[in-house]
Amino acid sequence: MFTTVRKSFQNHPLKRLSLSVIGSATIAAALGSTLWAAPSFAQSKTTTAATTTYAGIMFHKCVNSPITVGAGQTVRGIAPISGTAPQASAYGVTARAVVFVQAGSTETTCLIKLAGGAVWGTPITIPANTTVSIPFEDTSPGLPGESYNIAIAIQAGSGGSLTVLPGSSLTIEGIASKPSNNAY
């Protein structure tokens, strides 16, 4: 592009004046990028900011009342999240469950699953009459405009039942990024 500009000005009688004008404009443009205080450039910045689109994903759901999971049973659909990603970008998506579970009179285990049960962690020991907090998360690539329908599934060990307490939550975070910049 610069070559085209340069040739068009070669041997022009007003070359020097034109270059001075272009140079001044160039300096002004450079200043516009750095001097936010200048009103005219501040207006330009505001205009650009307004055209920036939403790119992130953030969905969150809490458990509001206790949920009992019988011994050896699995309860699905806990803290269900439904939402659609903006059409802006590809994403690196993290699903994070933070689950507060309480055992009854016998020791048991708690296994947290996501993605309809397709992803699961390690069974965590819950001593009798004890409450623990268990974090579990998984990541995956996301597509622009993709719909998310995710919930937690809790499987209690055969040793006894457990109760999922209010305050347990599921969070979906998506960071807009190039697919090649993510690793899963």
Partner: protein, 173 residues
């Protein structure tokens, strides 16, 4: 005007043109460089952690723990934000089993606080308690936050080094 002065003036003018031409080259060759950051600062990330352990006596609540420095969400970016407050607390019980309730205050000390269930801390045991809450915010909002820890009446506990409170604000529709 002498020839020497004239030459000096021409040389000076030439140098100026060369600088201007160089600036033009930079501007045309890398048009994104000058504009890449325009409107691109949108998110916010804040964190605080306790750099020494401290003990919460039985039945007591400590507030204003790991209060992070208040900051504003950028005012010149997008309008709507989802804000995640995430606490990681390490609690160690003494000779008595006890419980630990973690609270997250979404604002200055004394503002609304959301509490976790009471998590069991067995005797002479350290447990990690993750707890997070989410709220909404808008461009330019001042974001403040801190955490609280409450010990059960059965016994106190010690909050370990580098328990933390992290805040992430994402621009979302």
């Amino acid at each position: 005007m002498s020839r020497e002065n004239q030459n000096h003036k021409n040389s000076k003018h030439g140098s100026l043109l060369a600088i201007l031409a160089l600036a033009l080259v930079s501007w045309l060759a890398f048009p994104a460089v000058g504009h890449a950051q325009t409107g691109s600062y949108n998110g916010l990330m804040l964190q605080a952690q306790n750099m020494s352990a401290f003990t919460v006596p039985p039945g007591r609540t400590f507030t204003d723990v790991n209060q992070f420095d208040p900051r504003n969400i950028p005012a010149d970016g997008l309008s709507n934000y989802t804000v995640v407050y995430r606490a990681f607390v390490y609690a160690t019980a003494g000779a008595s089993a006890t419980t630990c309730v973690v609270g997250i205050t979404e604002g200055p000390v004394g503002a609304k606080t959301v509490y976790s269930p009471a998590v069991t801390v067995p005797p002479y045991t350290t447990v990690q308690i993750p707890f997070e809450v989410v709220t909404k915010a808008h461009a330019g909002d001042l974001i403040q936050g801190s955490s609280t820890m409450s010990a059960g009446s059965q016994g106190g506990f010690t909050i370990g080094y580098f328990s933390s409170l992290t805040l992430l604000a994402y621009p979302t529709p």
